[in-house]
Symmetry: C2
DNA sequence: TTTGAAAGAGCCTGTTA
DNA sequence: TAACAGGCTCTTTCAAA
């Protein structure tokens, strides 16, 4: 599944792009010590292989009108039902991430909403869409988030 | 703090860059219906204001050698100690995100490691650095993650 | 897989409206 | 604020090793 392991050069490229997603190929080439075209080719390959899944601007929740973050744990109401919860939740755009977890609960969602009222409405939609009970943990502040991994 | 609210044009730009962080200014200009230089100016302003906090390649944890994700809840050992936990944890690069939360626990961390042994070692370092008890929820799979918000 | 070169596309500044 | 025009940089493809 994991062919060999990421080559050091690819590792360096991925690390750099994780930290600075808009880095130019020229800069990238300098940093990893390859020609521009060689770097270009490797980046394309990393994208094709799915090592790089995409690029995103990281936005400030406060400033884009979604100041309220929460973690929502899901417990199935009907333990016999088929486990298609992610599909049932996919259309709810307030859900940024969905993790299937080991433990008392089945899933944990990370969501962002505009207000407590928005959270209330979101919870209602999650419960209805997925037939689950929810337990919500409100995020008070975010000391740091989305740091790039050390490869 | 949130001057007025994000203008529709800035909103469109932020939305596009959240979905496609490497989008060229030329494409961006077409999509939002402005000239390239006007878009350029707005993007720079969004970056300066901190609406856009940066750009990142989204990497596949499996393929970069960090297949194990976990959520770790922290409870202070000494409730009287000053609350500088984020600072105490900042240097631990396996911690991708750190949320201060309302509830039984004080913080929730999202971490990525290479193996169960790596997780064990990480937990030890977290407990030592921050003087906390930990409760760990292992992520079994990630149906989706880091979706861009709907502005 | 890497390089270098070359053409085109895109970036970005200064100026004008 | 936005558009335009320039000079310059970056991207992308190609042939060669």
């Amino acid at each position: 599944m994991n062919p060999t392991q990421l080559e050091p050069l690819d590792q360096a490229i991925a690390r750099e792009l994780a930290a600075n997603g808009r880095c130019s190929f020229t800069d990238l080439a300098e940093k990893v010590g390859l020609s521009v075209s060689a770097v270009h080719q490797r980046v394309r390959r990393l994208e094709q292989r799915g090592v790089i899944r995409g690029y995103a601007a990281r936005l400030d929740g406060e400033q884009i009108g979604l100041p309220l973050t929460a973690l929502i744990s899901l417990t199935p109401n009907d333990p016999g039902a088929p486990d298609d919860y992610p599909q049932r939740l996919e259309h709810i755009t307030e859900i940024e991430s969905c993790y299937s977890v080991a433990g008392d609960e089945s899933y944990i969602l990370l969501v962002r909403v505009a207000s407590p009222l928005g959270l209330e409405d979101l919870l209602r939609r999650i419960r209805e869409s997925a037939k689950v009970s929810t337990r919500t943990t409100v995020v008070l502040s975010t000391p740091f988030e989305g740091r790039s991994p050390t490869l």
